[in-house]
Symmetry: C2
Subunit: 318 residues, 2 copies
């Protein structure tokens, strides 16, 4: 059994707050630290706003948003914690320094997970006193709804500690993807980045507005991708012959100039197109309305996909 | 008002059959042609199998799968048709030649749409007698459920005929995306290709199996993409500052080596990894079980997303 009694969150931005809500919902005591002005108030508001969604998904026995403590200092937050999740901004030097503080003040056997979306764990654990208990654990926004967490071990991480981290995230009802090899961007963000770059090229060249690109995705392929990933989708597109037929028929198209291969320059013009496009397509909805709308949708979608994900993939049960 | 009485389908593969079912479901008479051995039997079976899903989505008055006729010859199929949709294999010379046959035998004012996923309309209309009534109209599998159709005009297409085509596809309850400029792969397939290439790289390098790549997508970002596209997703990830903040914070990451920029060689080894990976993750489900599973899911998802798509995008009403 896991012996995690106290979880600590370092950094209470969008991702840190997402972790807080997920951990509270699964019945953990959580202590959070963030030195920023107004951080506690923003955190409390975020917890209030997200709570209905985790209630809809189902709370663990004893789960309560009152089991959350906020402190200013990282040292204070981590000293009694059994599991610590770091979520400071994606700047390598900053992460290094905060992780060293955590490492120095935490119990030596507390597990430390970093939410980094792109930095490799071996780099982040390099200067720790106890690097063997460090993993990357990259979640997806909104963390309290989406089940995926990519867990990546660094060169110095022990497999025992990877197992402990995996067990903890599974106790949070997460779907743990153990990434076999370190790579910048792990797995999911490489796919997301590929879509992103191509989308920017399309807008940059005036082929479509941001709204049109989004529609090209959500009204077609995007509807499929909530259930089957890129491989199974193409497997199905191959008809009875599946992927075998698909690769023979469409493999050569890999060499066609169908995607732009370099990221475009982020010029002022491209910046304006992208920003104003997004504002336009929000159609007067505030960020928080968009956010709420997405959450209501995702809660229902999550119920739906659980019934329909291919069996081996339904590791996550509620 | 539209005066389409008789629709014709040329080529009854997966996409052609998808169009047939969508058109029948919306109350059109459909005549289909395909010279291949056993094509009629495969078509009739596909219509039977897909019918429950269009019933679940709602049939138009008078819609019936009995209003479908099959003929061997393209000439016979198109001669009285008001709207003709071409769906032969994605080989430019073949499409050119079939389109010339259609053009020659169709009424001069019948609209011709091609389902090509990648070829530009100006190339396909080059040798037609009446090129002004030709458009690309690229749908997404399964055509009878997914609402998106990309409509692309060629240099010789008149705007009047684009309007007619648009009205026809809208009468099929489709969400028409008028693509402003011709480009290989139109819009959606460029995004899909970008994901696909990156996925192949990840598998090729042994970072993950096909199942892991799929899970990295479906359990995280893929759940979001059924509702919000790449732009609105990042807009939301920016917190209160939206895309404006997002681009400032993550714009520089565009230059990071997070995606492989060239398509990998499709070696025998990569081919085997991808094929066997897909077969493994199907977990004993046959192609038709996978297919059925996806359809049941998509029908429910489609109901769900209609409620939650940003308002401007909900052009498609049932």
């Amino acid at each position: 059994m896991l012996s995690i009694k106290q979880a600590a969150i370092v950094g209470t931005g969008v991702i840190g707050n997402g972790w807080i809500v997920r951990m509270l919902a699964q019945g953990y005591d959580v202590i959070a630290a963030d030195p920023a002005e107004g951080a506690e108030e923003r955190m409390r508001r975020a917890v209030e706003q997200s709570w209905p969604y985790v209630e809809a998904l189902g709370l663990a026995e004893g789960a309560s948003k009152d089991r959350l403590t906020f402190v200013k200092d990282t040292e204070e937050a981590v000293k009694n914690a059994d599991f610590i999740q770091e979520n400071v901004p994606e700047v390598e030097e900053l992460k290094q320094s905060v992780l060293q503080t955590i490492d120095k003040h935490a119990k030596p056997d507390a597990i430390i997970g970093s939410s980094t979306s792109g930095i490799m764990p071996s780099e982040l654990q390099e200067n720790l006193l106890h690097p063997e208990r460090f993993v990357v654990a990259h979640p997806f926004h909104p963390v309290y709804i989406l089940p995926l967490v990519e867990v990546v071990a660094g060169k110095q991480t022990t497999s025992e500690n990877v197992d402990k981290a995996k067990a903890f995230y599974e106790s949070l009802n997460m779907s743990v993807l153990l990434v076999r090899h370190e790579i910048e961007g792990h797995i999911a963000d490489r796919l997301i980045e590929a879509i992103w770059r191509e989308s920017l090229h399309i807008v940059n060249e005036g082929i479509a507005t941001t709204e049109e690109v989004d529609k090209a995705f959500t009204h077609g392929a995007g509807m499929r991708y909530a259930q089957y990933g890129p491989f199974l989708t193409f497997h199905l597109a191959g008809g009875e012959g599946g992927m075998r037929h698909m690769l023979k028929q469409f493999g050569p198209a890999l060499k066609k100039p169908w995607t732009k291969l370099e990221a475009p320059e982020l010029t002022d013009e491209l910046y304006d197109k992208v920003v104003s496009g997004c504002e336009h397509q929000s159609n007067g909805m505030s960020m928080s309305e968009l956010d709420q709308n997405r959450n209501e949708f995702l809660v229902k979608l999550y119920d739906l996909v659980q019934e329909y994900w291919p069996k081996e993939q339904t590791a996550v049960k509620r």
